[in-house]
Symmetry: C2
Subunit: 204 residues, 2 copies
DNA sequence: GCGCCATGCGAACGTTCGTGCTATTTTGAG
DNA sequence: CTCAAAATAGCACGAACGTTCGCATGGCGC
């Protein structure tokens, strides 16, 4: 790994953390250069444009997300353990010190939701893949006889997503110390209702 | 209402819609002036600073939120009807043409969650009040014998909040046409589980 | 209908932004 | 050790930002 690549990684690391606090748009090349004691043009030279920097930040974050959230969970057996691992890792990801401003994908989703372009497209794909991963884990949980056979996997992913989003807002804006307790309660409720084993008749 | 106040309202109206798309930080006085065919200094004169403008935008949006979401719901009888009205009005608010970029409070919450200052404080209070309104409606639903007597009203508010946030993301970033169906399904599930009437034994 | 004061304009300020150039320094292969 | 190539610095640009100031002007109370 040449020196340039080392610098590039350093920049991306810092940029990712900065973007989690200030948003992808709040990222500025001058700020990055100042923080890392580089020249503005030195930083700029590693990326052809600010837009390219934003995209690479998203991809850099995705690699970490896959490595710390998805991959470990997929090493768990299908069913309850994998579902719970996805959830726990996700919660830990949003709280990690590595992202001082909270989940960068949540921040970016709000920021980019009506700003068409390649950056949005990148984020869209990341989020879509994540949804699919959750839904796929739900389908595997059905096969593993953990979830009810009539489970709507996409609906499960939707509800899981909402629960974690609620956690993110409650923790980060409202600073509610009960946020983690609440999110776990909500998830248990979702699991209880989706899983086999004593659950309501839930007609139709 | 003097001329100045009329202009001020026009500015705030446009600023609110702009902020819903670009964020409170993306708001720029020059952009506002251009759109409204005013001079930059003319716009600026109505507010002492950009920060004051941001705060007034939030308060302007809150008035609308109270008027179109909360007040009509509070005119419904306690219990199921009021709970459903809160939910329906909220969904409609997030979809309304009046907010072309989606709920401005959601956008602002992400943007401001780690940027201390008076703007964040204003939003914090708005969101806290909204949480309290939901929880209070849940308590009223308990009194009205719609919700189970052991209902945790704050937990209900948390879950309702998460469900709607999931809707917001699914609709706005993923553009999933099934978003509205999903959010209604999730809410029905929450209601079924919280309300009296055939519900699971839900031990402990 | 006079006169004042709210209202808005125009120009300018110092910064910061992203983005080009052209040098200069640093790196690593032969 | 040499020298081309890679990496970074330096400088400048045009544009946009929030903010300030002095000046015109027109709406409205008296």
């Amino acid at each position: 790994m040449g020196k340039g690549e080392v610098t590039r990684n350093t920049i991306l690391e810092h940029a990712t953390q900065l973007a989690s606090r200030l948003g992808l748009d709040g990222l500025s090349i001058g700020r990055l250069a100042g923080d890392l004691e580089l020249s503005k043009s030195g930083v700029f030279a590693h990326f052809q444009s600010k837009e390219a920097l934003q995209i690479q930040v998203l991809e850099y974050a995705r690699e970490h997300f896959v490595g710390t959230v998805i991959a470990p969970a997929l090493r768990q057996p299908r069913g309850e353990q994998r579902i719970r691992a996805l959830f726990d890792n996700w919660i830990a990801w949003g709280n990690s010190d590595w992202l001082p401003g909270g989940c960068i994908f949540v921040a970016a989703a709000i920021e980019l939701d009506d700003q068409p372009g390649p950056v949005r497209d990148t984020l869209f794909q990341i989020q879509k893949d994540w949804f699919d991963t959750m839904a796929q884990a739900a389908r595997a949980a059905v096969e593993a006889k953990y979830f009810r056979p009539d489970t709507d996997a996409d609906q499960f992913a939707f509800e899981m997503y909402g629960i974690v989003l609620g956690f993110h807002h409650t923790l980060r804006l409202l600073r509610d110390p009960a946020a983690e307790k609440r999110v776990r309660l909500a998830f248990e409720r979702l699991l209880r209702q989706t899983s086999l084993g004593r659950q309501p008749s839930q007609a139709s």
